[in-house]
Structure formats: C-alpha cells, structure tokens
C-alpha cells in the first residue's frame, strides 16, 4: 500500500473527508497517537467520521507494526499523525511514505507556540521534529487542502527563527 503521511491535530475532520481522502485515493485511514488510541470516545468516534473508509486508531508502536503488514498490498492509506513527534516516531520505526504534509496544528493550551502559518502553530520542539522528518528526505508541505500553495515548511520554520 502506498502510505501518505498527514500531520493534523484535528485528526479526521472536514478537510480530510472532503478533500484529502479522494486526493490520495485512500482505501483506508490510520490515526496515530498514543493518547488517542487509549481514549474510548475518540476510538469510537473517529471511524464514524471517515465517510465509510475503514479506519484504525493506533498508538505509534502498533501503527508501525500494522502499517508494515500492508507493504505488499495494493491501494493507498492515509496516515494521520496527531503531532510531528508521532510522525517522527513512524519514520524512526522504519516506515516509508509517498509524501508528508501538515494540515492543522492548533496551539496546544499551556504551550507558547509560534504561528508559522495562521493554521500551524509550532514550538521549538515541534520544529526540531519537523527538521528530523525532513532529514529522512521528505519535503514537508503545509497544506490544509490539496489546492493550497506548495511551500517548504522547513524553510518557513527557518524564517520564523525556530530553526537555524
């Protein structure tokens, strides 16, 4: 299966169901975050929101094992990581993706993030994670929908002085 990585702390929502699923031709969705995977509400709600696509809600470790079993199957999977750290975990676990995109990263209460774009907040820790993701050879784009402008997120993080 082709895997597309989408980093979005709103997980499955309108932009995902209306645009990304059909854009990637996804046959399934995997939501990845350790906390979400053990939250009973989100575990029942998220598959219901996916417009009929089979949906898994997994912790990072589980996700690595599960997604590896899909390697030789046909089709495409949309992998939604809640945070850049989750995304990095997947890459550290040896997964390969067709592309890496950041959808929404709303500010997390209690942190002091910089708004890189009006829809993407990033702390210095987040910026480090993005840089490590980029170091795996990916160009990270900050698109909410496929029609958004094609920009390199890491360059923007440098402009905002979050990265040297």
């Amino acid at each position: 299966m082709k895997l597309y990585l989408h980093i979005d702390n709103r997980l499955i929502h309108g932009q995902v169901t209306v645009t990304w699923c059909s854009f990637y031709g996804a046959n399934m969705i995997a939501v990845v975050n350790d906390k979400v995977a053990v939250d009973p509400i989100q575990k029942t709600m998220l598959p219901q929101a996916a417009r009929g696509l089979p949906t898994k809600v997994l912790g990072v470790k589980e996700a690595i094992d599960y997604l590896k079993t899909l390697e030789n199957q046909p089709g495409a999977a949309l992998v939604i990581a809640k945070t850049p750290q989750d995304a990095l975990g997947l890459l550290d676990g040896g997964l390969k993706f067709e592309s890496v995109n950041v959808g929404n990263q709303a500010p997390v209460p209690g942190t002091k993030p910089v708004m890189v774009f009006p829809w993407i907040a990033a702390t210095p820790e987040d910026a480090q994670a993005y840089q490590k993701i980029a170091a795996y050879g990916y160009r990270i784009t900050p698109k909410r929908t496929p029609a958004d402008r094609d920009i390199d997120l890491v360059e923007e993080l440098k402009k905002k002085k979050l990265l040297a």
Partner: protein, 536 residues
C-alpha cells in the same frame, strides 16, 4: 442603479456572506441567501427583473454547485460572485454566460477578503482572553458581536461601491470588447458549469461505476427532455433498489440503539427549557461571527456559555473559570455539528450541579467530538444535501421560474431548523451517548449512500440543462451542408457538454487538478475552440 438599490444589495450581500450571523447564522444566510441561485432572485427583485435575476443566479450557481469550504479553507468565494457579478451583468444587459465569466475573478477577490478577516480576527480572540481574565464577562461574551465589524467592512463596502460606481462603466466596457472575445467569454461561461458539476461528482462518486447514475440522469434530460422531478423520482427509485439489495449485509449495523437517558433526572436542573433554547440560538447565530485562524469558533462557544453562566454559577471566579476553559481552539461543522455545543452545555450543567467532571474531561470530549462531526457535517451538508437541493431547484427554474429558489428556501430551512434544534437538544440531554447512538445506528451511511445515487442522477439531469456548447463546424458535400452539431445530435444529444463534464470530473478526480487549474483548462478550451471555429 439607484443608490438605494446599491445599498440594499450591499446590505443583503453582507448579511449573506459566510461569517455573517444575522440570518440564523449560516443556515438562512450563507447557505440560503448566500447561494447565487437565491441571490439572483433577490437581486432580480431589487432591480425589477426577477426572471433575469434567477436565470443569472442559476448560471452562476451551476458553476459553484460543488464548492465545499471545509474548516475555512476556501478555494473560491461565491459572495462577490453573486452580489457583484449578477447585478453588474444585469445592468449591462449581458447574457447569463458572461455573468458566469465575470463571477470567476470576483470569486478570487472574495477569497482574499475571507483570508483578511480570519487573520485580523485573531486580535478579537486575544481581546476576549484579556476581558475574561479581567472579569469583564459581559464584554467578553459580546466579542463575537463587536468582531463582526471586520466582516461588515470587507463585504458591505466593496459590494456597494463596485455596484454603484461600476454600473455605468460596465456596459461601456462590454461594448468595447471585440466580438470574437465576447464569443470566447460566452463560450467560457457556457462550458464552465461543467467544472462545477465535475467537482460535485468527484465528491459524490466513490467508485467509477457510480458514474452510470450520472449518465442515466443526463440521458433522461438530454434525450427524452424529462423535467427534473421525474429525474429525481427515478434517482430515488434507484437508491431504493440499491439499499434494498444491500440491506441484508447491513442488517447487523442497522440495529438502532436508543440513546440512554439513564442517570439524567429532571429534578435539580439548573437550566430551564428557555435557557437551553437561548444557548441554541446563541450558537446557531454567532458560530462563525469572529471566525479566525487561531481558535476558529471558540469565541462563539464562550458566548453560548456566557448567555447561561448566571444560571450555572454565582461567583465571578467560577464564571471566569467556566469561560476561560472554553477559549482554546474549537472548530466543527456548525449546523449538523451543533450537537457538540449541546453536549458541552449538558456537561457544564452537570459540573455546575456538583458532578465530578474535571476540566480535562470536558475539554477532551470537546476535542474528541469536534473533528468527527466536522467530517460528517461537511460531507453531509455542503457536500451532499445542499448541492442536491440546489440541483433540483436549478432544474425547476431553467426558464427563470421562481419555483426553484422558493423550493430550495422552503425545503432547506424547513428541514434544517428542526433538525439542528433536535440535534442540539439530543446532545444536551443525552450527552456523548447521543452522538455515539446516532453514529452507530448506520443511518448516516444509509443517507450518504442513498444521497450518492439520488445526487448522481439529479446532477446528470442538470448538467444536461446547464452545460451548453454551440458547435460551428460544417461539412459541404456538393449542395448539402452537414453540420457537426447535427451529426453529434444524431448520436447522442448534448454529447459535447457530456464529454466536457466528464473531462472536468476526470481532471479533478483522477488528475488531482485544483479548481483554479481546471478553470484555466476550460478557459483555454473556450479560447482555442472559438479561434478554430469549433465553438461559435
């Protein structure tokens, strides 16, 4: 255009824009008078020619029928397209296809305004934070009201000024355009609705074979000249067959669970029926009023809880804490998703009554529900229900009849107002169980599947009505002149519009083309087609 006409159009145009609260929030505004089709009727009424207004509105609507604007990401804005494009085209006496061509640049201008508003509005969010901290709670909950000023400025003034001062020039301008460019613009406007229908199809059609429903609808209208109501009936019949056939495999999922109301006793409730209604209206009207990129609809949740905070708590400190914990990011589809503010209201009341509910549980529930409901709401409402109703309306109004817009207004508001009231109350009374019960019932998937079939059929029917192409090529053999149009009509009437709609679908669904790029491809087709006299 008189100054009064321009003012009236600007006022209604502003009230119909996406972030305006005044007409039942988005329900009667953005999703009703904000639709170019309904706007055409209103503008026609103001300018004294309803029929022309409706025909222009219908043409512009056809182009934007598949436009869904999830989470404030907006590819094209129909507000200026309708409230500037239609009046100017009417004043200049342009054909409706030129109104469509005119609406394209205006829609991009509108998008710029949307981004301006959601950026500037972040200021109001921080102001609300400060007001809550300082204990100025009345002022804090009125932030969505004050914040409406930015939306008013970027909508009312451009619409008024361009209509009032632009009207005298637009007719002169259109006289200056050479005939061949006029033909290009007319052709562009006539084939452009194919992009709207292609976009809608790319969303409705989950598997390629479902395009057959579209073809059936198209053939019914193009070949047998069926009107839209029989097309709709045939679509419903096909959907019925499909569901009946699939029911066996579904039966397990179809067991409807009744939401449990256990543990909710009427006694000791802090909120009266009237308070809950007040909260409902507060949410429905103000949900997008200070839409901003940073927190989205959070200020509206604060306002909703603020309208009932005096019933929940006595001390200022408690009220401050109540409002403060709802300032973080919140965003959902506000209408179907109004069940979420309902759940929040119910939980806050329980907490105020002394139940052991931590702040964290409330915020987690809010966060857990908002995304899924946005996903479901966006795909069911602007993605399915609204375009299908509009399609039926367009079919009813192909000669400029007033029946189409009236049908849309009555059916849309007649279903959505009771539905949102019911959903909000369900959320309030039964909490998270209500959401799970509704979702687990399988009803949503049933509606979504049926809508795909009915929608596909109806969209086929109106594509045959609203995508047009006049072909120019003729072949002479001796005395006889055979036109390409006649040959193609002999094979399949409206074959070129059909192929254009499928092309738009192919570009958007298979080649992942953006709307802007697809517009451009059709522009090139129109220009080249006219230059080689394929289109006339």
């Amino acid at each position: 255009m008189s100054i009064w006409q321009a003012l009236l159009i600007a006022l209604i145009g502003y009230m119909s824009s996406i972030y305006s609260p005044w007409l039942y929030g988005g329900l009667a505004g953005w999703y009703t008078t904000g639709r170019p089709f309904v706007a055409g009727m209103i503008i026609g009424l103001i300018l004294g020619d309803i029929k022309t207004g409706i025909m222009m509105g219908a043409a512009v609507q056809a182009l934007y029928i598949g436009l869904v604007t999830p989470g404030g990401a907006m590819p094209a804005d129909v507000n200026f397209a309708a409230y500037i494009g239609i009046p100017l085209a009417m004043i200049a006496g342009l054909p409706s296809s030129q109104a469509v061509a005119l609406s394209v640049p205006l829609s991009f201008f509108g998008v710029a305004m949307v981004y301006l508003v959601v950026t500037v509005n972040s200021l109001f969010v921080h102001w609300q934070d400060r007001l809550i901290e300082e204990g100025k709670l009345k002022a804090a909950i009125n932030v969505p009201v004050y914040g409406q000023i930015t939306n008013f400025i970027v909508r009312f003034f451009p619409i008024f000024l361009i209509n009032y001062f632009g009207a005298p020039y637009i007719s002169q301008l259109s006289n200056l355009i050479p005939p061949i460019v006029q033909t290009m613009l007319v052709t562009f406007g006539s084939i452009l609705p194919a992009v709207g229908f292609g976009l809608l199809l790319s969303f409705i059609v989950k598997e390629d074979f479902e395009l057959l429903y579209f073809l059936v609808g198209f053939a019914l209208v193009a070949v047998w000249k069926t009107s839209i109501v029989p097309v709709l009936l045939i679509g419903v019949f096909l959907a019925y067959l499909d569901i009946r056939y699939k029911r066996a495999e579904r039966s397990v999922a179809m067991v409807t669970e009744q939401p449990t109301t256990e543990g909710v006793t009427k006694e000791g409730l802090l909120l009266s029926g009237r308070d809950v209604r007040k909260a409902y209206f507060s949410w429905m009207f103000w949900n997008l009023s200070v839409q901003n990129m940073e927190r989205m609809q959070a200020p509206a949740i604060v306002r909703m809880l603020g309208t009932v905070m005096d019933k929940l708590y006595n001390t200022v400190e408690e009220k401050k804490a109540l409002l403060a914990r709802h300032t973080p990011f919140f965003n959902t589809e506000p209408n179907i998703g109004c069940i979420v503010p309902g759940v929040i209201l119910g939980m806050e009341e329980e907490k105020a009554r002394g139940a052991d509910i931590s702040d964290e549980i409330i915020i987690n529930t809010r966060t857990a529900l908002m995304g899924p409901l946005a996903g479901i709401g966006d795909s069911l409402l602007p993605g399915t229900y609204i375009p299908i109703l509009l399609s039926i309306g367009l079919g009813l109004s192909k000669d400029g009849s007033i029946v189409g817009p009236l049908f849309y207004i009555v059916v849309f508001l007649g279903t959505m107002i009771p539905l949102t009231m019911w959903l909000f109350n369900m959320g309030y009374r039964s909490g998270i169980n209500a959401v799970e019960a509704i979702l687990a019932s399988g009803l949503k998937d049933l509606i979504s599947d049926a809508a795909a079939i009915v929608g596909g059929t109806v969209v086929g029917g109106i594509s045959a009505t609203y995508v047009a192409a006049n072909l120019g090529w003729e072949f002479k053999s001796g005395e006889m002149v055979i036109s390409l149009q006649n040959i193609l009509d002999g094979i399949f009437p409206s074959l070129v519009p059909l192929l254009l709609t499928l092309l738009a679908y192919y570009l958007i669904a298979k080649r992942k083309s953006t709307i802007g790029r697809t517009f451009f491809v059709f522009f090139v087709i129109a220009v080249v087609g006219v230059l080689v006299r394929f289109f006339v």
